[in-house]
């Protein structure tokens, strides 16, 4: 026998094998005394386990139900927030992500909107708030491009400042993400601790809860 089926014997005993696997296991058993002995021992183990009687001397069904109802009277159905907690664990991060997207969009769009408004109004409505006045914002962008990229020395001189500015920008941009991650982590800890306090551990015998 090149390979015993010890790992499969439990499945075979429990009727969990089908098709080719079942046929293969049965064919193996037909000529493997070792596996037959193992399977027989598993059957005897099952019989031995069944010898232990079920719980006896229990309360009658009516009495049992009455006791459960008695406990329910003291601990009624959980309130809305309690029941919403499992759903809330998804709402919280979704709301945080939505807030972040909204703030980022606002931060990017606000200057453009202000610039567009100013250009449309000829610079008079928001005059003083923006550095560029009196011209369309397309023209302002063209001027900026001509002076900023046309002269290489100016660009090189400005490079360290650009790098520093970029670093600051990245740090400022990542700060909200870090804050959101911390808030989400705190929410998960809160949700988990509520689950534990409610006597419904997420990972007691199962991996979920």
């Amino acid at each position: 026998m090149s390979e015993h089926k010890a790992d499969w014997l439990g499945q075979l005993l429990d009727g969990e094998m089908k098709g080719e696997r079942l046929a293969g296991a049965e064919a193996h058993l037909a000529h493997c005394a070792t596996c037959r002995a193992e399977l027989d021992e598993l059957r005897r183990l099952s019989v031995l386990l069944q010898e232990v009687p079920a719980a006896e001397g229990l309360a009658s069904p009516a009495s049992f139900v009455a006791r459960v109802e008695g406990r329910l009277n003291g601990r009624g159905r959980p309130g809305f927030w309690h029941r919403a907690l499992p759903v809330g664990r998804w709402i919280a991060p979704a709301a945080l992500a939505g807030a972040w997207v909204f703030l980022q969009t606002l931060a990017i769009a606000a200057p453009l909107i202000l610039l567009a408004v100013q250009a449309g109004a000829g610079g008079e409505t928001l005059g003083g708030l923006l550095p560029v006045t009196g011209e369309s914002w397309w023209a302002a962008l063209a001027d900026l491009s001509a002076t900023g990229l046309g002269d290489l020395t100016v660009v090189l001189d400005a490079l360290p400042r650009v790098v520093v500015d970029l670093g600051w920008s990245l740090a400022l941009a990542s700060l909200p993400l870090v804050c959101l991650a911390l808030l989400f982590g705190a929410w998960l800890v809160f949700w988990w601790s509520r689950g534990r306090l409610n006597g419904f551990p997420a990972t007691a015998v199962g991996d979920g809860g």
Binding site: P53, A54, P201, G206
Partner: protein, 188 residues
């Protein structure tokens, strides 16, 4: 043995839906329907009939409080057994003492005194061997050997993959075979 929601009896599904709507009478019917199974799961997990009955009541209270989270994709029984298993472990944790095996109620076999004593001794050893298993393996073994749940139902009940069910069951059985070897040999 099917574990799909379409196998959930219509009457039971109706009771579950009514209980979700707050009908405590319907929930009472569900308690009557599953009382014995839940008590036995808890009993096999903790080895004490009195503790088992108390923990089973607690399990039903938790089920009532969380019944609106139940999705009929899996059998209601599996869902209940999961709560029952956790309630059993909580009860054992609360008690914080060794299970009083001598205090357990034993079945009357009708055999003579010597034979009965020997049988009781064997039952106690088997019970202790089961209780000595790690809780995760014990739960799988109890649901398979005593409640005859399929691997799929056990996986649903405990929210673990099928492969984990098989590995935990193999582990439990191998450990029991070693612990109960003298009794297994007697059966030859």
């Amino acid at each position: 043995m099917s574990s799909q929601s379409d196998s959930l009896p219509r009457a039971e599904l109706d009771l579950v839906n009514r209980a979700k709507d707050g009908d405590s009478g319907a929930f009472g019917d569900l308690v009557r329907l599953h009382r014995r199974g839940v008590v036995n799961v808890v009993y096999r997990m903790c080895g004490d009939a009195v503790l088992a009955e108390d923990a089973a009541q607690e399990a039903f209270v938790r089920a009532w409080q969380r019944i609106d989270r139940y999705e009929p994709r899996a059998p209601f029984r599996s869902w209940l057994y999961r709560i029952a298993s956790n309630a059993a472990l909580d009860a054992l944790r609360r008690r914080r003492e060794t299970v009083d095996i001598d205090g357990l109620r034993l079945a009357s076999t009708g055999a003579g005194p010597e034979e009965r004593a020997e049988s009781a001794d064997r039952e106690n050893v088997v019970r202790q061997a089961v209780l000595a298993l790690p809780p995760a393996s014990r739960a799988v073994l109890v649901l398979r050997e005593y409640e005859q749940l399929s691997y799929r139902e056990i996986a649903d009940a405990l929210s673990i993959p099928m492969g984990t069910v098989m590995s935990r069951l193999n582990y439990a059985r191998n450990r029991l075979r070693r612990a109960l070897a003298p009794y297994l040999e007697q059966q030859l």
